[in-house]
Amino acid sequence: MTVLSGKELPRDGVKLSGEALHYRLDKTWSRQPGLWGWLSTVDHKEIGRRYIITAMIFLALGGLLALAMRMQLARPESGLIDPDRYNQIFTMHGTTMMFLFAVPVMEAVAVYLIPLMLGTRNIAFPRLNAFSYWIYLAGGILLWVAFVLDIGPDAGWFAYVPLSGPEYSPGKRTDVWAQMVTFTEIAALAVAVELVATIFKQRAPGMTLARMPLYVWAILITAFMVIFSMPAVTLASSFLLADRLVGTQFFNPFERGDALLWQHLFWFFGHPEVYIIFLPATGFVSQLTETFCRRPVFAYSAVVIALVSNGILAFGLWVHHMFATGLPRLGYSFYTAASMAVSIPTAIQIFCWITTMWLGRPRFDTPFLYVIGFVVTFVIGGLTGVMIASVPLDLQLHDTYFIVAHFHYVLIGGAVFPLLGALTYWFPKITGRMMSEVIGKVNFWMIFLGFQIAFFPMHISGIMGMPRRVYTYPAGLGWETTNLISTVGAFVVALAVLLFVLNAVTSLFRGRIAGPNPWDAAGLEWATSSPPPAYNFAHIPLVSSRTPLWDERGHLPVVTGLRVDDRELLLTSVLDARPDVREPSPLPTIWPLLAALATTAMFVSSMFTPWAVVIGSLPVAAALIFWFWPKEPGLPPEPVIE
């Protein structure tokens, strides 16, 4: 199939392929070398890499804070960390892990992979993508600089009012937290919009919705969840800032505000957020299971339906974080039932993966070990989740270490294990080299066992009555042993993470050269070289099944006719991916960075004076004007002819 019109423009095709085509495309799609090019790039792969590395740095920082907490809690009445610092540390740990690691890293991997999986040359709205990264980076730096300067937030990652309000948290600490939320929300929303647009309009011809890889489905649902849930927390944090900075009374019960309003808004975002982290991880698991069991995932449509219903049900559960607040009991029953129901789609997915393993022939490479570790660990977290969906059980276990154990089983077992598997799996695609299998396997067992040692005892600490968020505890309540074991486990996990980083860094230079498709996988991202060229694909692939590289072994059909002298994408129709239009893709520019800097200046100074919002918006507007400055009209749009 050729996408073309009869004009005499340079296009890829029979007359232009191989080295000559590479030369032309590379010239068109490469950024200029040097710092300027680095700062102004709009290549999704480059930004995705940066995003992943930054998020992993925040994982390491958040992990160091966890170690500090475990040191403090290793024995009762420890004087290692004073309460003020401890409260900052646990607030920073939760905030960093949720806002700066977990959600961003899932979006980051998607930014890198999705265009490759769809067979397109760049993400939609690539300049917005660059802006998103810079804003995210600025938010993270803001939070951590504040922490180093001893103005780190200390009201918990959930920042319940009135504790986080103007009266009980004077100073700038909570302002920093709330403004950091604004940064990361903007970044997350931007990426979500790009991903939805990319998935809907830039799939390779023939990749109907029903032929999309399951990971793409997971990301599509996740992106919609981001779009629907993040505004709630943005609203909440804006209310909080307004209460703190300009004297509004949204959350002040004595001026007809309401303290519980915060909890509703926060958890309306906070619960879906867990699924925003978890669903991409299920996407990883699906891809890894397919590749390492050597067959497509069983019951594709059941998995897709499970993803969609997870995405919808996740919005009906938020009150299960509020069972102790004294809301009407009848209402609680609804949220108990909904919280129970959400485990059905997950049970479907688990069944489909294990059935795939049963029907296929599992190959125990490191990434697949993480899949098994995921099932063994995550299911425990899911089942303790069923326990605390029950009101009478939750009223006891809420805000104890049982909950800490539960959500670490869900988030580390359910998201970090698949993420580590996914990073090992796609490492050759990103870097061109394989990670060491030997170190990888040692690494897996260390983190798997270390995790169980660290977090299983926390269930028991919680049942023995140990509340969360305490900087110390008295001797004699029976919490000493379990806490000490948890601390030991935490250090094993930390060593394992260190080993992962070492493995990644050494493999970057010494790893075995991977080639385009080292795992013999089925997805389009493996159809191009490792690492992919700036333009991703010399010719846009043509898809006729869910596992194109397995079904069209060695002769993947392509479409030709995209211009090589200009950045051009092929857009396809939403449902069945028929060629629709040819669309120019924006060139690199420095303006997203400058717009991000202007936005940062506005947000940071608005913590000190509300006028910053007015004055600071002028540079932002100026940056946006240059960013969107219209290009000279090019050639008239050409029709797509099949």
């Binding site: 607040t325 108990t336 022939r361 299911v379 059980l393």
Partner: protein, 332 residues
């Protein structure tokens, strides 16, 4: 089960001795908690074993090799039926658990018994203000950071907060209930077993959230009544010269601005009532056990004992410190 067994063992162990344990089962509701928790534990353990058994069987069945060619879908007809069965089984299990949870909760709700003892607990950063309400205002008792409850008698506790959100939680007796500024919440307890228990604030409430505990004594009705009568008595006048020094210091210096001691001019209301402080089990809302040494430490420098609490460092001279401690020790 490999993981659940130690958990179950620990639950059994803890149930014997914990004075702050969710499996204590020493109150009516927490007794129901134990049976419900056991049901959930058994059902979830069953499902976990099912998943793990399937997983192990699936991965050991056919080992793959590097040169394996990928397979087409197909040969999976039976599994579609099993999937439907699996969903039905999960749904059935969840429905059963939801029903168990609902009926347990409905039993715990119920009307407020008319013969209940009425108590008002107000949470502050970081201590509990406790009032035993009585139709006769003069018979109202005020104390701090402790509850005395007669065994077998329902207790209705009205909960308020003076500052931020706290959560009232005496795990051996019942689940938690938040105290939210601008709202009045409540909880009903029925202690079933005599004993000494410990409660603790369960919602993060700021700097000293870790040190906001509550001593609970469940005792026979006669002992409770004796305690109640003793709490109604005003403080005795100081008897020794040392205690007089302390008395004079408290009445004329900073202390009386915040603390109340019935029967004396000290009538501050923003800090714990000290009228019977020496009869309590701990000081500083469970920070230290009650003892002369800890009283000294606390009064000499409250900020090093519990950093950030609202009692300021006063800087007593040694003889004043001796006097204040001697006087407080007479407040039984």
């Amino acid at each position: 089960m490999r993981r659940l067994l130690p958990g179950l063992a620990a639950v059994a162990l803890v149930a014997c001795e914990g004075r702050q344990s969710v499996t204590g089962g020493d109150g009516l509701h927490s007794g129901q908690f134990n049976s419900l928790f056991l049901i959930f534990l058994l059902v979830t353990a069953f499902f976990y074993l099912l998943v793990i058994a399937f997983l192990v069987a699936a991965v050991v069945r056919r080992r793959g090799r590097a040169e394996d060619r990928p397979e087409k879908s197909g040969g999976e007809g039976g599994f579609r039926l099993i999937l439907i069965g699996w969903v039905a089984l999960v749904a059935l299990g969840l429905t059963g658990l939801t029903a168990a949870s609902y009926f347990s909760d409905a039993a715990a709700g119920g009307a407020r018994p008319a013969n209940a003892i009425r108590i008002a607990v107000t949470a502050n950063q970081w201590w509990w203000d406790v009032r035993y309400l009585d139709p006769v205002p003069a018979n109202t008792i005020r104390t701090a950071n402790e509850l005395h409850l007669p065994v077998g008698v329902p207790v209705h506790i009205q909960l308020k907060s003076n500052d931020v959100i706290h959560s009232f939680w005496v795990p051996n007796l019942a689940g938690k209930q938040d105290l939210i500024p601008g709202r009045i919440t409540d909880i009903t307890l029925i202690p079933r077993k005599e004993g000494l228990y410990r409660g603790q604030c369960a919602e993060f409430c700021g700097l000293q959230h870790a040190h906001m505990a509550l001593d609970v004594t469940v005792e026979p009705m006669e002992t409770f009544e004796a305690w109640r009568r003793s709490q109604l008595r005003p403080a005795p006048p100081p008897a020794t010269p040392l205690a007089v020094t302390g008395y004079n210091y408290i009445m004329t210096q900073e202390c009386s601005a915040c603390h109340n001691i019935s029967g004396t001019p000290a009538s501050g209301q923003v800090a714990p009532d000290l009228t019977h402080i020496a009869s309590r089990r701990s000081i500083g809302a469970g920070t230290f056990p009650m003892s002369r040494g800890h009283l000294y430490a606390w009064i000499a420098d409250p900020q090093s004992a519990k950093p950030g609490n609202h009692m300021p460092y006063v800087g007593l001279e040694p003889h004043e410190l001796h006097g204040v401690v001697a006087y407080l020790e007479t407040l039984k």
